[in-house]
Symmetry: C2
Subunit: 336 residues, 2 copies
């Protein structure tokens, strides 16, 4: 049995390209005592991998060229020498970009395959969903009638934040990067309006869409987009700083926006790291799963077939050209 892997060939300069990756095939590793082997089914693609490549993700080890790419996956246990896991179990585990992985079980979450589609454990019912939910509810503190702006509005984090805003009675306004995404944001996700940042004049677009100012901003991108929002803050606004995707592909951190409007608005900016909110994961899954069952909460997946497509899909993600949660189907859910 062979293990197909995608490796980091070199740290990208700027936006990643498929040439920054390599692949190989090695023997499938054998689990030691206290470990289990699992076969990868779904691979999650997330912008923060770009930070890990350059060593600037503060809660993860830097990758070295030649290493297999890191990544969160849904997998099925093949062989277990760990008392907590048995063959056939479905798990969320960091197998990375490869067909098989060995784990000691730390940080691994078991999945009930009958509760929800397995892929949702990497998106709407996984880390991205928890990020959007906990960040908006506990840091953004939206109130009914308030205006909540969300950037990367149709992605797995943003679409959760935007729909939570709507379902708690606030008025969500999205920011996205194409007319199709903006239409989907309004028609499917229930945003009241959605600005296309590629149209320019984002500050004026938001001013028109948020005539009473922005009470909450859930920021996924940083940069000029953040500056355009700050210029439209309402008094006592809250800004949730989640991730600055615009900066991930830059060697030097870019300057940020002028913060004078934060003073004028008496606004509060708060940094969000999802790993601080794992104690809310059960709540998030219960609440969001119920909304999905009730048909009031939608999610969208952008699926690439086969591990060999992962580099290209990751590059599209970093250009904002995915549409929905970026996933790679590495293998079928049921073993052939």
């Amino acid at each position: 049995m062979r293990n197909h892997r995608i490796l980091l060939r070199r740290v990208p300069s700027g936006l990643p390209t498929p040439e920054d990756f390599d692949s190989d095939e090695v023997d499938v590793p054998a689990p030691a005592d206290g470990q289990f082997l699992s076969r990868t089914i779904w691979l999650s693609l997330d912008p923060y991998y770009r930070n890990i490549m350059k060593g600037s993700q503060f809660y993860a080890e830097r990758l070295t060229p030649g290493d297999p790419m890191c990544g969160e996956t849904v997998a099925q246990v093949v062989e277990s020498r760990h008392p907590g896991f048995a063959g056939g179990d479905y798990v969320v585990v960091r197998n990375g970009w490869q067909d098989y992985g060995v784990s000691d079980g730390v940080g691994v979450r078991k999945l009930d395959p009958s509760a929800a589609p397995l892929s949702t454990a990497l998106g709407v019912l996984g880390m991205p969903g928890l990020t959007g939910y906990a960040g908006l509810v506990y840091l953004g503190e939206p109130r009914p009638g308030q205006t909540v702006v969300v950037s990367a509005a149709t992605g797995p984090v943003g679409s959760t934040a935007g729909q939570v805003a709507r379902l708690v009675g606030a008025r969500p306004v999205g920011i996205a990067g194409s007319p199709e995404k903006c239409r989907y944001a309004v028609e499917e996700l229930g945003y009241s309006a959605c600005a296309n940042y590629r149209d320019g004049n984002l500050r004026e677009q938001l001013e028109a869409m948020c005539p009473d100012g922005i009470d909450v901003y859930f920021d996924n991108v940083g940069g000029d987009t953040l500056g355009a929002v700050l210029a439209n803050l309402a008094r006592d606004a809250r800004v949730v700083l989640c991730g600055m995707i615009e900066a991930y592909s830059m060697d030097q951190p870019p300057p940020g926006p002028f913060l004078g409007p934060v003073v004028a608005a008496r606004a509060t900016l708060k940094g969000l790291v999802v790993y601080d909110w794992l104690h809310k994961q059960a709540e998030q899954q219960r609440v969001v799963a119920a909304w999905i069952r009730d048909g009031v909460f939608r999610y969208r997946e952008d699926v690439t077939e086969g591990l060999q497509g992962a580099p290209g899909a990751f590059c599209r993600l970093m250009q904002g050209r995915n549409f929905g949660k970026a996933l790679v189907r590495v293998a079928p859910e049921q073993r052939a």
Copy 2:
């Protein structure tokens, strides 16, 4: 009786120069019913006047060239047609840069001349003192043992924030612009250390002075100084954004610092406007006056003699070349 006035001649380009001001002499105005006339004793010079000149101070009317310069003053009532004020009363009133002013009493605070030196009503026991006190106590929330960094550390706002930090058991570290100011900060104001930002490498200076990271930052200047602090934040840090003096003399708002470190630290940035905290003014005066009487709280004034010196003194202030609360003694406290 003639009224000597300093006028705005033109909106400065960049840092103000004395040529941006003019002066004239007019008749002393007569108070109407419901007004009083007062003679100016002390004129306060504050960086935010520069914002009013260019119309970017959000809570004040823009000045038009030819207008008398605006400003907070301590004055004595000369003639009153207002039921709340009598001849001889000492008041804090916005007479601006002139010998005499007329007021309808709105926002005017009466002073007890025996309670504290009159000039302190414009500094340590006035708006700057309230800014440093309320901003640090209620937004910064310093705790004993925590590290509190204060920029413009020897000015009236910063020296209040720094000394409050010390008196609540935290460890204050200052940022100032000369060896003399840094020495004064440590030896007189009780800062544990003080970095001279003109020496460069502020980020490294702060790293050495704050080995456990910065728990609270009281920001008076913005810009690169703020960036150097953000790079040294401790987990769950609070940053009080008070005023961005570096930007006041710029026509276009400059970029701000990269906010990635705010996410990593899970920090909170909060905008401070002193006029939201007037309900704490009595508390601030009671607490700080007691500390001054006990000899544990110091203040320093930078006094210019005569109204004609106000333009030069204001220009020095905007270059950070004052040392202590910038005041102009317009007339003796007692009438000759």
